[in-house]
């Protein structure tokens, strides 16, 4: 499953690509160590602390590339968890309207566009029984509560008839009550983020502008670049950070 997210779909190529920035970062560090604490780059001179910072940044990029497939997989699992009520509802609706269960699952996979579901469908189409197909994919991906729900759904598909529809109805109601609990948790977390946003994104810049200009009057320093940094860089960066956090929190409660 992870191989889908490796660069060029090859583990070897992925790790080779990740080692490039680490190696590039170590180059100035080695030169500095060999040069007795200093290394010359064109007209500039680089010292040990600067070389260490460069290596740290490049190593972080390398590690990020190594961890990227795991991150992508975990984000896909998150999406699967978020969309479970919708998946179950769609299947239930289609089965109730007369669609065969497996066809309904195929439609859902097409609609939701998640690699994990694609893999389960592929296994089913290759002849694996539905519940077993979920277990197979779970072995590849790792444990996650979403697989338990999917296994139950697949077992219901195997049952067929009226009981499948009844089971999916109960499953949907159960998932919706879980969502209610998620909503309460999301609102609590959001309140904390809102407070953080208010204090760091708004009150802090106002305080910063007032303090910086007052101190500049006393010390005679030029604070215009600092205030510009605050207005044009700090506020937008903090806002983006808050927006990303809020999106993550609210997404848990959305359907």
């Amino acid at each position: 499953m992870l191989s889908k997210y490796y660069l060029g779909r090859s583990k070897l190529l992925h790790y080779a690509a990740a080692s490039i920035p680490i190696a590039m970062g170590s180059f100035p560090l080695i030169l500095v160590l060999l040069g007795g604490g200093k290394a010359r780059f064109g007209k500039g001179v680089i010292t040990l602390p600067e070389a260490l910072v460069v290596e740290l940044v490049m190593a972080t990029i390398g590690v990020a590339i190594i961890l990227l497939p795991r991150f992508m997989l975990s984000s896909e699992l998150d999406k699967l968890n978020l969309r479970l009520p919708y998946i179950v509802l769609k299947m239930k609706t289609m089965i109730a309207a007369g669609e065969p269960p497996l066809k309904a699952f195929e439609e859902v996979v097409k609609d939701v566009k998640l690699g994990i579901l694609d893999l389960i469908l592929k296994e089913i189409l290759l002849g694996t029984p539905p519940a077993e197909a979920v277990s197979k994919v779970q072995k590849l991906v790792g444990k996650n509560p979403a697989f338990d729900v999917l296994k139950r759904v697949m077992t219901a598909i195997e049952m067929g008839g009226e009981s499948t529809s009844m089971f999916l109805k109960d499953e949907f109601e159960g998932l919706m009550s879980d969502k209610d609990a998620e909503l309460r948790k999301a609102i609590e977390n959001l309140s904390v983020i809102v407070e953080l946003y208010m204090s760091m994104g708004v009150f802090a810049p106002v305080l910063g502008i007032i303090m910086l200009s007052s101190l500049a009057i006393l010390s005679g320093a030029n604070v215009t670049p600092l205030i510009m940094l605050l207005v044009f860089i700090a506020i937008p960066i903090f806002s983006v950070f808050s927006a990303v956090m809020a999106k993550k929190m609210v997404e848990r409660a959305l359907l």
């Binding site: 009520p85 919708y86 509802l89 769609k90 239930k92 609706t93 289609m94 109730a96 309207a97 007369g98 669609e99 439609e107 609609d111 529809s165 109805k169 949907f172 919706m176 969502k179 209610d180 909503l183 609102i187 959001l190 983020i193 809102v194 946003y197 208010m198 994104g201 708004v202 810049p205 106002v206 502008i209 007032i210 200009s213 007052s214 500049a216 009057i217 006393l218 010390s219 005679g220 320093a221 030029n222 604070v223 215009t224 205030i227 510009m228 605050l230 207005v231 044009f232 506020i235 937008p236 806002s239 983006v240 808050s242 927006a243 809020a246 999106k247 609210v250 409660a253 959305l254 359907l255």
Partner: protein
């Protein structure tokens, strides 16, 4: 007497909306470029970004050019929420009509009378069916919005067209599930509505504190000199400070509008319209402050001679 085919009104698809969105959000950049190009010709002097009047003008132009985007985002979000809220009412009416034995197109036509905002799409669908499309084909007029629920209803109706008798039974079950989702979404919106108040509070705090700071500290101090004739304010330029505060309100308004939209779980940047209202109020307040600067009561500071 005029005869003709009924008109089919097609709503904007999500792809068209994306295009309109790109255009509307690029308006501030376009208008800023035009402003830069025409400033010297109109004003007779080159632009000075750290002049409060130019800062005010730039903020005003940005705010005005953001109005179409903010209005559209607000409208689309409102339409989406209203459409989703109407789905259970439509399904309930559809269930009744099917129970009464009406054929599907007629049942949808009659049920559309119980809804207001969904009616356009439903009537288009019905017209397409009267013109010869199958129900499955006609459901395309329900698609293309950002609503999963509407997509699901379209899927359900196209499934229904393939199934046989006693359709009303499945309609009831589907309606119950949709009602659960709609009431859940309502609860989510109600719970996050208070975050919109954050936007107003935040902008109000920024506006009041900066206006007080400029009017009672920076401006009076800029007019005082020490005994040796040096300005008491030092290297702080009141005009530069005012400009930066104005840019600050612009950045705060736009970012707050976006952030609060995420806080409220909107599918569009619908809170931008509230941010723009506050931005216009802020611009008006700063304009009064700048143009009435000379009328401000300046306290006299007596510095004892040493």
């Amino acid at each position: 007497m005029r005869f003709g085919l009924p008109k089919i009104r097609v709503e904007l698809s999500s792809r068209d909306k994306k295009l309109v969105r790109y255009v509307s959000f690029s308006l501030p950049v376009i208008s800023f470029m035009i402003f830069l190009a025409l400033h010297e010709k109109i004003m007779g002097v080159p632009i000075n970004f750290l002049d409060p009047k130019d800062a005010l003008l730039i903020s005003f132009i940005t705010a005005v050019s953001l109005v179409p985007a903010a209005a559209l985002e607000f409208k689309w979000e409102w339409e989406l929420v209203t459409l989703e809220n109407e789905i259970p009412a439509f399904l309930s009416a559809l269930e009744g009509n099917l129970r009464a034995g009406l054929p599907m197109p007629r049942a949808i036509h009659e049920a559309s009378k119980y809804v207001k905002f969904l009616r356009g799409r439903l009537l288009t669908m019905v017209k397409a069916m009267y013109l010869g499309s199958t129900l499955e084909e006609a459901t395309k007029y329900l698609r293309g919005s950002k609503s999963n629920l509407l997509e699901l209803m379209a899927d359900y109706l196209s499934m229904l067209s393939r199934s046989g008798e006693e359709m009303y039974r499945t309609v009831r079950e589907f309606r119950e599930a949709v009602e659960t989702i709609v009431s859940y979404s309502k609860r989510l919106r109600d719970a996050t509505r208070s975050f919109l108040a954050t936007l107003y509070l935040v902008m109000f705090v920024y506006l009041v504190s900066t206006v007080i700071f400029l009017a009672t500290f920076i401006y009076p101090l800029s007019q005082q000199t020490t005994t040796v004739g040096m300005p008491l304010i030092g290297k702080v330029n009141p005009d530069v400070m005012t400009s930066l505060v104005i840019y600050g309100v612009l950045v705060e308004a736009v970012t707050n509008g976006v952030v609060v939209s995420y806080f409220t779980g909107s599918r569009h940047v619908s809170s931008l319209i509230h941010a723009l209202i506050l931005l216009f109020i802020s611009i008006a307040v700063y304009a009064v402050l700048i143009f009435m600067k000379s009328a401000l009561p300046i306290p006299t500071v007596s510095i004892p001679k040493t």
